[in-house]
Symmetry: C2
Subunit: 331 residues, 2 copies
DNA sequence: CTGAAAGCGCTTACAG
DNA sequence: CTGAAAGCGCTTACAG
């Protein structure tokens, strides 16, 4: 069965292709009669007409696709929710949001984005210079490093604030000597560094000593060494802020084998609000994020980049309230 | 800067557009001279020519994009690795693999696939009938329910075999009364049901009583009730096969609060080989999967669906060896 | 108020 | 061995 084209609709409705296009794209200024409009709509519907993306893209020079390039972040609940939310809010704005997952530098992005002539490319993490240049040449707007910039970026999600919030909570519970559990994985650096930076600054602002940073992996051995460092120094830490929930869970497990009581000997706070966190014994205190709001902010940025009218923004990028402390039993 | 087209390359190289197309698509049968070929290639390269996806798609009626539709599966390490691996192997075959993430039935797929005129649509999980019909009309091959079919499907990854492997391991360790920890989340049903089915059949084949199934959520309370059911019956279970590692971790946590020793009072095996599993105390025994191989199998199926020549298949779809027992401390 | 025509960039049957 | 021309489906400036 051959494809139904706008020409078919035009013939069937007894109008020209031009009229079909005008009706379907809602271009009112040409003042089409209500009757013509109705007939075209009815016919298109009856024939099951779906405009050709290729035809439109060829003509307009760009498609309605937003291509999100995702490096191989360690799997995170948060990332998945964010993707879902972004797809939804871009969908409402008439854009299709597709994801390109790639590991390392193996993928020749050059050969990929040409297939999907995207209206925008959004890079989570940052793109190799060669790819960025290619996009530049093709005049495809690139939103780079969405999650990594110094400030809150386009999502309104500040990594610094996450670290700050952790410290503020621990300080409010009376802790002064605080350890920071960083992660020893280069792929996580874009998140870990700014969180640590925020934590460090918060300590300074509160008049506390700088956090005692230990870098570790997601393993029990690694966590054990870290715990030893925090607890056996001249001024032992009484609380630890972990880069994320997984690291916090590793610390938690190691404390059990070392018979260190949580939260009494050592308080602990993670980031992400993973479901597993509530399963731990004791249940993990953590920082949660409103990813729907963050995705909404990014959508506004994307639409601005394509020059589309901004949607009825429910909140500005700095409306705050994206982060929330979730207190359970480890603090 | 306007786009570099094949016409530009042709003019610059002093040949026709036809010749450029032939050279770039490697159509040898026309017997182009080596010199012409070299000059075209060099020119294309120098000008930074990248063929227009839209132009090609319009002409050929389909693009080089494989669109994978992913419902909101609970986040799983396994799924992410699989996506990465699939992108890689399709990339090698010259196809771009993009993912469309959607939650529930909210997304009007109808309006999405038209933007990206995909060569194939691969549905992880199954598609609403309306969407399937739309694709059918457009003559876009649909690989539906990739993970759900009765057999091994296109990935060679049999959910039944996973359940069977768990039971065989527990039986080999001497267990006869086995509990099964199912999950109470409709989104997981496509995985949970066949795994349970495989476990049940394995018990039958081994002459063991059917597993005592308890359905639970990812919470400690829920796990506590499950553990009570398994341990307080007339013939208490001595081992539990869990739907996945997360469920197993919930059971593990609950056993600790109930002072049930693992593995002595109750052995436990999960599925997925999550990193957190090795952090647990005791470390979790589980089933791992070779997702690169599984993705390779699916790629072969996709290429067959588009009528492309199969790649140099390193292994048939039933080459086995995709699943592996990873024994740690809970069995 | 509506339509005929051009052109986006590509591939390929056909003609030399 | 190489090229001129048609046509994929769309949108839009232009002409009535």
């Amino acid at each position: 069965m051959p494809r139904v084209t706008s020409k078919d609709v035009a013939r069937e409705a007894g109008v020209s292709q031009t009229t079909v296009s005008f009706v379907l794209n809602g271009r009112d200024e040409h003042g089409l009669s209500a009757e013509t409009r109705r007939r075209v709509l009815e016919t298109a519907n009856r024939l099951g007409y779906v405009p050709s993306g290729a035809g439109r893209a060829l003509r307009k020079g760009q498609s309605n696709v937003v291509l999100c390039v995702v490096p191989d972040f360690p799997v995170a609940e948060a990332m998945e929710q964010f993707k879902l939310a972004l797809g939804r809010s871009l969908g409402e704005a008439g854009y299709a949001c597709v994801y390109l997952h790639h590991a390392g530098t193996a993928t020749p992005l050059a050969e990929l984005w040409q297939h999907v002539q995207p209206a925008v490319v959004v890079a989570f993490g940052s793109l190799p210079a060669a790819d960025a240049q290619l996009l530049h040449r093709a005049e495809i707007p690139l939103l780079d490093g969405v999650f990594t910039p110094g400030g809150t970026g386009l999502t309104g999600l500040s990594q610094e604030d996450i670290g700050r919030l952790q410290i503020e909570h621990l300080a409010a519970r009376g802790h002064r000597h605080i350890g920071y559990a960083a992660v020893d994985d280069p792929r996580e650096r874009p998140f870990c560094l700014p969180r640590l930076e925020g934590a460090t600054r918060a300590c300074r602002d509160l008049g506390l000593p700088a956090p005692q940073v230990v870098s570790m992996r997601y393993s029990r051995d690694s966590a054990r060494n870290a715990v030893v460092e925090w607890t056996h120094g001249a001024t032992p830490a009484t609380a630890v802020a972990a880069f994320n929930d997984l690291i916090a869970l590793a610390v938690l497990a190691s404390c059990r084998t070392q018979h260190i009581g949580i939260p009494d000997d050592l308080a602990l706070i993670g980031v992400d609000d993973l479901p597993v966190g509530s399963l731990a014994v004791p249940a993990l205190t953590t920082i949660g994020m409103d990813l729907t709001a963050a995705a909404g902010n990014l959508t506004a940025g994307i639409l601005a980049a394509v020059g589309a009218p901004a949607p009825a923004a429910p909140s500005g990028p700095d409306a705050g309230g994206i982060l929330a402390l979730i207190q359970r039993e480890t603090t």
